[in-house]
Symmetry: C2
Subunit: 446 residues, 2 copies
């Protein structure tokens, strides 16, 4: 993409309304525009990151054997009357009347609807296990929407629902979700720690939240700091292997890590003092096992192998897709702007032409662009007639992890400069070597 | 994907509520489930096709130089008061009050919001031309939602908006959209004919609708039947070349083709009688050039090269993404079920194991699955313990264009059977040859 043809409305000034760094940088980098309180347009750069995050979530859910579908944003109130939540939900639910005066709502979550889909089509243990999920816009009419996309009203969420014949199978589904979430966050460059949570209005027995450590987090967190060193890495996971999956969960949930809601001072004090940490965290996902709460209320039953009818065992599992952009920026930035992890960056690399209009520099930049595109890596090429300082400031602000700088002086020596946004270090090399290096870096992020 | 692990709730009976074939087959093939009048869940098979169509639309828009972003589903009423459409729009607009009693609405289209984004960030001819588009859920509160996804209330639409400094540039944007739409529909296996349209509530001078011929279409159409033979084919388009793009448009709009709204009997009678056809069509897209209607009302101005301020020239251009599934099925089916064009099929090929549990058949099917996956072609493998007739009926109903049938008898001779859903013809060949053939067929549909 050439910047001269793109729509990247960066702001020079800090917007007054933004209280936290992610909100500030998302506005300044031309990623979002507020359209109403807690409702945003995703401008081209923001949309690219959103899509990338969505893609990673899809890939890891599918890898875990979960099946994507898509439920609508609007739901009939009657479904929620069956579960009893229509009256319970309170003012965060956006209630709507259509032209026929029917009660509708903008879905804040989908337990009722997915249970309805299930009961309409499945009635035997033979069709289980089954986990269905979607990535769809939700609406929660927050009293005080704030912090940009971190606490918006219209937000994008992945929510998945498992259906299993018994508690053991449902707990395996729970574990499968935990592991798939760990991998999802790792691919985004995040350390998200599963912490035992209190059950909210959805109800639930077993439930963990995933928290990213950040000073601006809404929750106070208490943890053994060795938990931040745990990594899934490249290990192979067989999601059908109950023992393997359970062992991974054990590994990631044994060290103390809790939010203020479930914190237990006495247990915490058993953590060696050198490892005992208190901080703040941003919630980026949650998994729930709630058993038969909805299936009983809504009559979603299956016939077991033994021929008896039982309400199906369920759980629901969510990832805050749009909120993740804010969380990633909170966790990865400096005073010049965003620093995107390679897994989610809107463009893998930026090209800065130091002397637009110089035949050699223009040709070298076009050559780099072409070579990168041929490897499936679309660069953002700043081909504007601007001074170098302004180009660097834009690249630093929007946070592409790698930058190739091209100028007449380097080209005389046959070199360009490859710079890491994170470390700030630069290295001179031939254009071909720069393309090879970028290709290698992103090979792990397909 | 193995069918035993998938969620494909096919129906044996014809659902009573479905009046047209696409609605009937989408329900029977387990692609959609109605959640409220005109509001559907997209079950896994339907969702796969929807995503595929979305992907083609994205690819062709990006190829034309248009830039994706994403606007929210809910909009503040105030924006629509600026253009005057809040009062004009009538009962099809779903009006909502939030908990602060603010007037909101579920966007039926986005001219106001995109104009707001534009005026907030662009003020010079130097940033033009610019075309922004998104693919987002819309809501129109139809009095009588019917025909499944063909006339739903919550529907997925691509809507794009061009911003240009003058009329000539805006007409080029109009032409660019026409050509990109022609390619989009062709890739979906559709013949969609651009027909001069009357301007609707959006307003507009130049406007064409794209119609797919089908007996169940909502519009009466009058055309020279030579128009159905026009194809873009593989020709290279340079979307920056005004003359080339204009010539393609001329080629596709010179022969008579109009809807009842703009039909002119006198002109139609000049078409040679042998080519004069009257039929019905389904609208799958529309392009509009409307000039400064919104930019004047909303103050979206740019400074020209000469230093004067002018309201920006605009147009809006839409593709009915979710409706396209219905249109494609109306245009491509038989009495056994859907026949997906290769460009949009949910799975490129189905594998039918005639004798599940037979070691040789199971191994051959698993081998085919693996080989196809290695080529990036995910098959749907019917590994259920069902009789062959039921497996064939399911494959015919869901309409995968190719089927590989594997049985012990063929394997003794070293062959499997490759069957075309469209022609019904089968050919015996080695499993390797079948994989090669499928790979070749889909090479043109990346």
């Amino acid at each position: 993409m050439r910047l001269s043809r793109y729509f990247l409305p960066v702001l020079k000034e800090n917007p007054a309304e933004a209280q936290i760094v992610s909100h500030r940088y998302m506005l300044r980098a031309g990623m979002i525009k507020q359209q109403a309180a807690g409702i945003y347009s995703w401008l081209p750069l923001g949309y690219r990151v959103l899509r990338r995050i969505e893609e990673i979530v899809h890939q890891e859910q599918i890898r875990a054997g979960h099946i994507p579908l898509l439920m609508p944003t609007l739901q009939p109130a009657d479904l929620w009357r069956e579960s009893g939540r229509y009256d319970d939900y309170g003012q965060e639910m956006l209630r709507i009347k259509d032209r026929q005066d029917r009660d509708m709502l903008y879905g804040p979550t989908n337990e009722e609807m997915i249970t309805d889909i299930f009961r309409s089509h499945v009635n035997s243990y033979k069709d289980l296990p089954l986990t269905l999920y979607h990535i769809q816009w939700k609406f929660r009419d927050e009293m005080r929407p704030r912090f940009g996309v971190m606490r918006g009203r219209e937000f994008l969420m992945k929510d998945g629902y498992n259906f299993d014949v018994d508690r053991d199978a449902a707990l395996h589904a729970y574990n499968r979700h935990m592991v798939s979430y760990l991998r999802t966050y790792e691919r985004m460059g995040l350390t998200a720690i599963p912490m035992r949570a209190a059950s909210g209005p959805i109800g639930g027995d077993n439930t963990h939240e995933f928290l990213v450590l950040a000073n601006t987090g809404e929750s106070e967190v208490f943890y053994d700091d060795r938990v931040t060193g745990l990594k899934l890495g490249q290990r192979e996971i067989d999601y059908d292997d109950r023992d393997q999956v359970a062992k991974v969960c054990e590994e990631f949930t044994t060290l103390y890590a809790r939010t203020d809601e479930t914190h237990d001072e006495a247990v915490f004090n058993q953590v060696p003092e050198a490892h005992r940490k208190v901080g703040r965290g941003i919630e980026v996902g949650q998994i729930f096992y709630f058993g038969t709460k909805y299936s009983e209320a809504m009559g979603a039953e299956v016939v077991t192998k033994e021929g008896t009818k039982v309400p199906v065992e369920m759980g629901s599992h969510g990832i805050g897709v749009s909120r993740l952009l804010g969380a990633i920026i909170e966790a990865s930035h400096d005073d010049k702007g965003i620093i995107w992890p390679e897994g989610v960056t809107p463009f893998p690399v930026g090209i800065v032409n130091l002397k637009q209009g110089d035949a050699a520099a223009d040709a070298a930049c076009a050559g780099l662009e072409k070579a990168l595109l041929a490897r499936g890596l679309e660069p953002l090429y700043d081909d504007r007639d601007e001074r170098a300082g302004a180009k660097f400031a834009t690249m630093d602000l929007i946070g592409l992890p790698w930058r190739i700088t091209v100028g007449p002086r380097g080209l005389e020596k046959g070199v360009v400069e490859l710079t890491s946004r994170r470390s700030g270090t630069s290295e001179e090399m031939s254009p071909e070597a720069a393309v090879d290096r970028i290709t290698q870096i992103y090979a792990a992020h397909k």
